[in-house]
């Protein structure tokens, strides 16, 4: 192992990512109750909020119904909400001591972070399945071709990775569950409301519009809106949406990998 080849290095790195993500996946499969109960939240947004707001005149968007407009936003919201509290489980693992086991291993910290980020994608996808079922029942015009579905999967995965890594950074900074809960609540609402998730950017005041276009959730929603709906359109273009999310995720992974060792100090 004196001079591992490029291929060996990549394959080792992937194995170490898998070490972390696979355990998360197994735990989720064994006890999906948390993810399933979380799925009630998008249902409430679509059924209660959506049905009422659809009648508000200012929100009527061109020919498609407000529910069609709202569904991808709520999907993005469920990705955000389930990922943003991911940090709590990391703090929990640190308090237990499980995290120490990973930290004393020779695995690069970036592999440990990516393993967690990848695993949060499983949660996001479980949520998405519930939102799709509900959307079908509500008669929302979904695009069900394989390309669209694959695109949605990719956007959910990268969105989950982004917000869970962001959450991990906060966990590394605050280190306790109580403080995390406070900050998590504080961040979630601005990220959600300063985005195009539940209303179009066009009806926002100028300052909020600027804020919204700097908000990664906006690009998550924009991508999902194009891919999820039968006649979906994107404002920024799918390539831009994905590029923004990818860049933001990369930055978060680098920062999280730097901060991660703080948790077990």
């Amino acid at each position: 192992m004196a001079n591992p080849t490029w291929f060996t290095r990549v394959s080792n790195f992937l194995t170490q990512i898998q070490a972390v993500s696979d355990t998360e996946f197994r735990k989720l499969r064994r006890d999906p109750s948390e993810v399933l109960t979380r799925a009630f939240q998008p249902a409430i947004w679509l059924l209660l909020f959506g049905e009422v707001m659809a009648n508000v005149r200012g929100l009527a968007t061109s020919s498609s119904s407000y529910l069609d407009f709202l569904a991808p936003g709520i999907l993005a919201q469920s990705v955000l909400f389930s990922a943003i509290f991911f940090g709590i489980s990391i703090i929990w693992e640190r308090d237990l001591g499980v995290l120490h086991r990973q930290m004393v291993s020779p695995a690069p910290r970036s592999a440990l972070v990516l393993g967690k980020a990848l695993a949060s994608g499983f949660r996001g996808l479980t949520q998405a399945t519930m939102v799709y079922l509900l959307a079908l029942i509500l008669g929302i015009h979904l695009a069900l071709e394989p390309f669209s579905i694959l695109g949605v999967v990719a956007f959910i995965w990268i969105g989950s990775a982004l917000f869970s890594t962001f959450s991990l950074i906060i966990a590394c900074l605050v280190k306790t569950r109580d403080r995390f809960m406070g900050i998590g609540q504080l961040l979630t609402m601005p990220i959600f409301f300063a985005s195009n998730a539940i209303y179009p950017i066009e009806i926002m005041p100028t300052w909020l519009r600027a804020l919204s276009s700097a908000n990664p959730l906006t690009y998550e929603v924009d991508g999902l809106r194009a891919l999820m709906l039968a006649d979906g359109i994107t404002k920024y273009g799918l390539a831009t949406d994905f590029a923004v999310l990818f860049a933001a995720t990369s930055i978060c992974v680098v920062i999280a990998a730097r901060l991660y060792p703080r948790l077990t100090e």
Binding site: Q16, V20, T23, R30, L96, G97, R101, S105, P108, T264
Partner: protein
């Protein structure tokens, strides 16, 4: 059995938290195959020292090498050559014993072809073969400790660090853990650095003991030499009392005590 090769060496190793010196200018040397026990009051700096040697905590000053690698400059190489059983519960209760070992095998890059074989052997060695497919949450404290040792030893490290290995365990479970540790040393020649609060444990396992007090190593030696030095009929308790002074009432801050109780509860 101990050889002349030095496996752990620290030079003026120091860790400062704010104005509090957890470890002060500590010099320690442990030889290959040795079982070295650190004893001391709560907050004496034992866990901080272990955290530095396992690369979890960067030192404030001084140097240290483990398995011939510098703990700061070659942290990743150090990690590849050590096993660590923290005081806290480090196996995941929501996974089976097998799955916990599988995670370790992947993190340590044990080749896929021999992964299953290694895990099965590790479970057998720690008498956990029948429990491999049960959730760790259903294990007894002693079984969890054995699984944690199996996880820490899976990649055949040169040095094994154990922080209070039998805390919270009943006497039978304690003895089982002791026997397994002695076996590991005998069969694999692993060097062990452990902390303990229990004098009988230090006497049963350790070739040499170091007593820590207020971040310093006040005395080191074999249990017998330390007792002989105190005079006829002296016990390790006497040695401990003589070397930690009478201020143990003041040591052991709330966090140290809290962590210890949590760990005891988790394993008990």
């Amino acid at each position: 059995m101990p050889t002349n090769q030095i496996v752990i060496q620290t030079r003026e190793l120091t860790k400062v938290f704010g104005s509090f010196s957890a470890v002060q200018s500590l010099d320690l040397m442990v030889r290959s195959g040795e079982i070295f026990g650190l004893i001391g009051t709560n907050g004496a700096g034992k866990s901080t020292l272990i955290k530095m040697l396992t690369t979890l905590l960067p030192p404030s000053a001084g140097t240290a090498s483990v398995a011939s690698f510098d703990i700061v400059e070659q942290a990743s190489s150090v990690r590849a050559h050590i096993g660590y059983v923290p005081q806290l519960l480090s196996s995941d209760g929501n996974l089976t014993g097998y799955e916990n070992l599988l995670m370790s095998a992947r993190l340590y890059l044990i080749p896929r072809a021999i992964r299953k074989k290694k895990i099965t052997e590790a479970l057998e060695r720690m008498d956990l073969a029948d429990a491999g497919n049960r959730l760790v949450g259903q294990y007894s404290g002693g079984m969890i400790r054995r699984l944690e040792i199996a996880q820490a030893m899976l990649h055949e490290p040169a040095v094994l660090f154990l922080d209070e290995p039998t805390i919270g365990l009943d006497p039978v479970a304690r003895h089982t853990v002791w026997n397994h540790l002695l076996d590991l040393r005998k069969q694999e020649g692993v060097t062990i650095l452990m902390t303990t609060h229990q004098m009988d444990e230090a006497e049963a396992l350790c070739d040499r003991i170091g007593i820590m007090h207020q971040g310093r190593l006040t005395v080191t030696g074999t249990p017998k030499a330390l007792k002989d030095h105190m005079g006829k009929g002296a016990t390790l308790d006497d040695v401990f009392a003589a070397n930690t002074g009478s201020d143990s009432e003041q040591s052991g801050r709330i966090n140290a005590v809290k962590q210890e109780r949590e760990s005891a509860r988790a394993h008990g």
